[in-house]
Amino acid sequence: MKHKYLIPLSCGVLFAATAAAQTRTVSGRVTDAAGTGLPGVTVLERGTSNGTSTATDGSFTLSVQPGATLVLSSIGFETQNLVVGDRTSVAATLKTAANELGEAVVVGYGTQTKRELTGAVTQLGSKDVENVPTVSFEQAIQGRTPGVQINQGSGKLGAGVQIRVRGSSSISASNQPLYVIDGIPVTSQDLGLGSSEPINPLADLNPNDIENITVLKDAASAAIYGSRGSNGVILVTTKKGRQGTTRVNVGAYFGTSKATRIRKFLNASEYRELFTESINYGLTTPGSILREDYGFTENDTPQDVFSYFAGSDFDANNDTPWNELAFRKGQVMQYDANVSGGDAKTRFYLSASYNDQKGIIIGNRYRRGSIRTNLDHSISEKVKVGINFSLTRSMNDRVADDNAFTNPLQLNAMPPMQSPYNAADPTGFNRSLLYENALVASNRNNNQSGNYRILSNVFLSYEPIKGLILRSEFGGDILNLREEQYYSRFTNDAAGQGYGYSNQVQAVNYTTNNTATWLKTFGTEHTLEALGGFTFQRFDQDQTAVEGQGFPNDNFRRIASAARFTSGSGSSGTGYSFVSLLSRVNYTFRNRYLASVSVRADASSRFGRDNRWGYFPAGSLGWVLSDEAFLQDNAVISLIKLRASYGVTGNAEIGNFSSRTLYAGSQYDTQPGIIPLTTLGNNELTWENTRQANLGLDFGFFNDRITGEVDVYQKNTTDLLLNQQLPLTGGYQLVTRNLGKLNNKGLEVSVNTRNIDKEFKWSTNFNISFNRNKVTDLEGQELVSGSRNLGRVREGEPIGVFWGREYAGVDPENGDALYYLNTSNADGSLNRSTTNLYNSAANVRLGNPNPKFTGGLSNTWSYKGFELNLLTQFTYGNDLYNIAGLYQSANGDYFDNQTVDQLKRWQKAGDITDVPQARLLEGNGTGASSRWIQDGSFFRFKNLTLAYNLPKTLTSAAGMQNVRVYVTGQNLITITNYTGYDPEVNTSGLNGAAVNYLLGHDFYTPPLAKTWLVGINVGF
């Protein structure tokens, strides 16, 4: 695939394939501008597949035909043609290509040179994802990808990552991009059932095996994926072997980690102060809930009340820092090795790696072992076969979802005078606490998910006539997930009997792509590339689970020892299929006028019988302005390229059978019954359509010292796949319909500069993305994400807008929490007077969880063997809502320990504060409101790496080609006004159905890890 773009160049060289006996040997050396030898440069005899790559010092030797031209290419450098002529020894200097016009970019079903690209595409290389202490590769590219917003959501290892390419384009269907690894769409959705915390199946790909990642953002690039292109497409290409000396690389890193931030809570004496006040209010106020509903009287004491609710002594002499007990010092380590090389006929890449991360949250650990073989072989000049195969075993010791008592973060709710331990208890832990002691669970439960994953594809390509390549590939993504859970009898979820759950999911996702690509140059000025093909994908998922209760004791943890099998037991299956036809024509005139047209036709089993086939056309134009005569040899401008594209993409990520009205089994005691589902079917259901226009500019100034790209876009989504809410009185809840409209528009700017380019080098990359999302039509509906949550979908507002009651602070007279009425006056104006009646206040717009802009700034300094890279990342203008505030920042309403800011509560008439009077159980200011909304902007020192490459003189003496040692810090400093744990937060598990619009909510969500590691890479 890699050198397919070279074929147009070779088309003129028709006399190349003459007698093979007349070859001659050419040797040479390839250097950079500074004269340093460049290793790994691909040296190819033009018009053939004969080639090699340079050794560490830049040298190469190759047998070529007489009169051959060599094509020298390497990522980051301009591709150069070198006429050998009669020489037997040649030398070449490659120019650094900041605009990388000659660089190959992976696109859907092919590659293009950067010059030929007319769509909006971002490509990242292996350097960006290698040796970063994250579980999956998407976490590593945060801050490097304009137009792609990546939110890790929490610091849980192996959990789902939220990715939005140019904003959310759907309300009820998935907003995650399509992932394609080596040409095959892979399973990227959570398949787990044991917990509402999603599992990320992309973690099964070893990031060190990645050669490059391409994000297709606009319609011109993504429409070739048709009904699944609307959310963007992320193409991952794994490393391939190259002809030449066999290279061996081994590497390892070790590090430790801790939480980016731990929130502060009250200590014992502060707690007693606040709660004595709170309880006394209830005891002394006639008609209080404590007296009315709980029967306490003024003769009772705070001690009585506390021990009634919290089950222990209010005055106990403990001061437990519960907030810290959820955390520990984490560890990360990785070992990996790969071997690559090959000859003219066969190229290979072999790798093995092991990654072990012990999380900062107690009980959380992730391990992954993987092997990969990428092999391709030229049967003849015209026929090539290849296989990419990886096998991964991953094990994840999971953390309970945010909303579970066994989530260790919920330990921060415990009163500090309660002790975590009790020597007399069989578990050694104190189990008479306000809430369940999550330490028992983390000590005695297990909650594991383990994957076996095979990502594989085989291909055959055949070039029957010059320029026509027929390619057939077949890919299988086999995911075997097993979830094993055991809850000790000493934890509440096990109801005193022990609880076990074992779930096995087998997901087989297979795809066949069959394409014909025809490349033809007409004369010297016209180049045409035409692609046609069809693909078929089938996904089958089978699941078998067994749930048991009643275990003899905690030493028996498998369900064979359970007394009873319970309701979570069963087996089920589901699946979907796609049949597609695709075509694309790229035309280039004079190498600077570019045009591309593509169409894909898709049909899916997911859609209604009456509406099965959809068509997704796109077109684009490009103009390399700087190649025009009037700009050539301009001293300032080295590149100006204009791009424009327009096209249609779709989104098909809905339930497999949403178009059908169905009845499911439902059992009454031992009798089998059937009931209708709560969703109605819709025979007309089809994909949602996104029409996207993109205008782009690529520029280079001062001999490409400054380069960059600017893109503006508008995405209009119509026929939204919307789970339309139905009146419940009809007996159903939802119907999935193509209803409603939304749009995203935005601007992306990316600038690269080489500030100093001498022996000391300093280069900078800056990128910033603005996206504005607006839901324009829902036929008057409003989607509400739940009772405590504020996220909603409303017409005229961005997805996930915070909507609810507006907190107005505290009445200085009496300490009542106040809310703005926000009702309409008779004259139509807004009534901004306040009320202490929560229910009287109107719901209004309170904030927006979508950032105004996001981006990254990366600087690289290098001098001799030293290299320093600092990546910073920022998000600005989004709001966060801490739902846990209802409990932990609620002026002592219930016995949950409170955040330290609650000490500022109102105490006497005249106090000016925004924390209401402490009144136990009275709900003074505890309804969901803007009280817990804060600005979520942050600026993070995301990754700092200092590396040193040992001098060649030293390494070659030791028989090594290169040795690199490095120190990396991840998430070192976070600058934010958010007072919670970590501003990069997005709780899962509160409302699965609302996952697309429950944004920016924080609910006992663990923070990210701050990691330091040292590592080494050695090449032989």
Binding site: A603, P676, P727, N839
Partner: protein, 466 residues
């Protein structure tokens, strides 16, 4: 060599072509766990499974699995029970600070109307198919009408205004809903009286149509009679209530268990006229839901979350020998001192294990209805109020009374039916206060779920909720 490669390429192309041809067929995937609605109610066997399906909804957490029994008690918890748990939705109910987005307000409404529609669908289905035996057709009609009437009765008491002459009852839907168009219809609130008229019509029809005896967990004619007695009592129609209750006591064949505990520890005991069946596989108790989950707080057997405390003053009303009150050992009486989570607080033993059946009608209630109605009317149909009350007291181990007043009967009703979901309904019809406030205040009437208000359905919202 050339030949081989040519062959390989041909095979690849043919393979490709072959797949394309067979692909259209691949788009016809059928669900593996569901069947299409068109065939679901197409003959007698399928309708029978749909009837079973309707019963299977009864133990849903929004219905008898939890809310229909817990919520009426939470709404009148003062001096009776207290909510110690963390679920915001239940704490809002226990403290009468309910929000319109309360998750359990939504859930019970949704589950109730879902079951009403299932009943309507089956009623429609039976009218379209042929039965080998028309008696069975009539029985199914009776079952589904009672199901529907029962749901309307539960919902109107919780979401409708307490005043019988209020125009704000709940929407009535009697047609099967199968299409998006039908399902999108916005319904107005019928008046409370209209809803009761529908309930009575359904239950009276059910009494006629249902058999004398039915399988465990299913409706028979005496279930319909007993439920109608409960409806009549709620409406203050004492003579009718008395007649119906007396009919059940006299003819249903049910009898009081020897021990007052048996109804809660043994499935299908003679006293239970109607139990919602549960077993290990099919029940509401999943650790985050269900009566036993919230009530139970013991270290032996099903442990539970111990979220609901029995108020000590309430437990103090039982005599020491009364097995309905607190006994020293767990499992000897219906109130015990918890020994697991939040220990040393009184808990109810009525909800004690995961797969236990949920008694919805016990014969004891019929004695209490007959006693109350006789007492109010000054009659002694079937038995004297004193005899009925003492029947229950003696069974429980309490000292028989010498004479009874209406207050005595009502108190006995509280003691006997504690934690079974009667309290707010009884307090409203008898005009008693919850704490110092009337039991009928707007804050103790559930709001129409905000979800419906947003859709413009079931308007207007109840008083006190914006």
């Amino acid at each position: 060599m050339k030949k081989i490669t040519l062959h390989a390429a041909l095979v690849a192309l043919l393979l490709g072509g072959g797949i394309l041809a067979s692909c259209e067929k691949q788009l016809e995937l059928e669900p593996e766990q569901q069947i299409p609605a068109e065939t679901a109610l197409s003959d007698q066997p399928s309708v029978e499974t749909a009837v079973t399906g309707a019963y299977s909804r009864l133990f849903a957490g929004g219905l008898y699995g939890n809310n229909l029994i817990l919520v009426p008690d939470l709404l009148a918890g003062s001096g009776y029970l207290s909510w110690q748990g963390t679920f915001q939705s239940f704490r809002e109910m226990a403290t009468a600070q309910i929000t319109t987005v309360n998750a359990d307000v939504l859930r019970t409404w949704q589950e109730g109307y879902r079951l009403i529609n299932i009943s309507n669908l089956v009623l429609d289905g039976v009218s379209r198919i042929t039965f080998t035996n028309n008696t069975r057709r009539t029985e199914i009609e009776g079952e589904m009408q009672l199901m529907r009437g029962l749901m309307y009765f539960e919902l109107v008491r919780l979401y409708g205004q307490p005043n019988i002459s209020s125009p704000q009852g709940i929407p009535i839907s009697l047609n099967p809903v199968t299409t998006v168009a039908e399902s999108s219809v916005r319904l107005p609130r019928a008046s409370v009286r209209e809803v009761y008229n529908q309930i009575i019509a359904d239950m009276e029809a059910a009494i006629q149509k249902l058999p004398e005896e039915a399988d465990a967990g299913r409706f028979d004619t005496y279930d319909a009679t007993a439920l109608l007695a409960r409806v009549r009592l709620q409406l203050g129609e004492y003579a009718a209530a008395r007649t119906l209750a007396n009919e059940v006591i006299s003819n249903s064949g049910a009898s009081l268990n020897a021990s007052v505990l048996t109804a809660f520890t043994t499935k299908g005991s003679p006293e239970s006229l109607l139990e919602v069946l549960q077993n290990d596989q099919n029940n509401s108790n999943n650790g985050n839901d269900g009566l036993s989950t919230f009530y139970s707080g013991k270290s032996v057997g099903y442990q539970g979350r111990a979220d609901i405390a029995v108020v000590a003053a309430f437990a103090g009303q039982y005599e020491a020998t009364d097995l309905r009150g607190r006994q020293a050992a767990i499992g000897e009486g219906l109130i015990y001192l918890g020994d697991a989570v939040r220990p040393n607080i009184l808990r109810s033993f009525k909800w004690n294990s995961q797969g236990q059946n949920i008694p919805v009608i016990r014969l004891a209630e019929m004695y209490l209805i007959r006693a109350e109605a006789n007492q109010r009317l000054g009659t002694t149909i079937g038995a004297t109020p004193l005899e009925d009350v003492n029947e229950l007291r003696q069974r429980a181990g309490a000292t028989p009374l010498a004479q009874v007043t209406l207050d005595d009967v009502l108190k006995e009703r509280e003691l006997e039916l504690a934690y079974e979901g009667f309290r707010i309904h009884d307090y409203r019809r008898t005009g008693r206060n919850v704490g110092t406030q009337p039991s009928t205040i707007p804050a103790r009437v559930l709001p129409i779920p905000q979800y419906e208000i947003n859709l413009g359905n079931s308007l207007p919202q109840n008083e006190g909720y914006n």
